[in-house]
Subunit: 185 residues, 2 copies
Amino acid sequence: MTERYAVRQSGSGGQGMILAGVILAEAVGIYDGKNVAQTQSYGPEARGGASRSDVVISDGEIDYPKAEEIDLLMTLTQESFDNYHKSLKPDGILIYDSDYVKPNVKNPPFKMYGYPIIRVAREYVGKEIVANIVALGIIAEKTGIVSKESLEKAVLARVPKGTEVLNRRALETGYLLAQGKKLLD
Amino acid sequence: MTERYAVRQSGSGGQGMILAGVILAEAVGIYDGKNVAQTQSYGPEARGGASRSDVVISDGEIDYPKAEEIDLLMTLTQESFDNYHKSLKPDGILIYDSDYVKPNVKNPPFKMYGYPIIRVAREYVGKEIVANIVALGIIAEKTGIVSKESLEKAVLARVPKGTEVLNRRALETGYLLAQGKKLLD
């Protein structure tokens, strides 16, 4: 039986969900050396500004990278929560921005964790634009699907030169948030 | 019958094949408004530095984004040509860097076009790093799968601030190369 783990990161365009997908896939595929596929799909609705990327990790061949059954869903917007929460497996994990998303589902079968991801990026890390990297830190801490060493390497290989310290801080902040540390008043 | 067109862009890590895939997918999906999926896969062999990304355009639902039957293959390295030319459809198109790739196939069933893409990026456009954007211009000119207006929008939305003129020049240069213009001595 092949083990398979699918992560969907979703938000609005400009929130860096595609870069986050590429980074997670490179951390797992290049640095941890596992089989991984990373996909994003667009249709006419993409003009509305929604953005998502999927990463599927497998210990066997990945012949079907589409992530229909999501193990972990990260949502930074209400629209992306509304669109995708039904794709979560019953034993899956939802991680959401608690300032922007109300997970209005009765008796959800999945686990839910809310954090003020974007506000923490802006006020604690120092730049809202690294919210996607904070989110990656949360995913890594909550799931263990990627080693911290590999994730940091992949982040630093992809972010613009001169932003390495900011992004390393964003990643560490994601770990702290997921560990339950209170970072803002 | 659903029309489907699959493009694989391949080279070594650092040549920007993944960014090129994201840009092509966004041009077709967001700006041209078609259904498109963009995928990259990594396995343990990715440590060797090979890099590829696939874009599948469809006029229907895309339920299978893996590009097993490639309509257009762009290769910037011999290794990527060797790995992927067998995935090309018989009526497909191969585009390759003529300085780095020898397409050593007897009686190839596909069409072949070689250009000194990397050298043109370095010596005519001014920076080797935009070879991936030159390549996108060639793909657009040879296939017509993406409108030039949409491709330019997508390029400018994804490249680093301050490099817009360089990248616009790279794209125009790709069109000229594909039209058969001689740009270097």
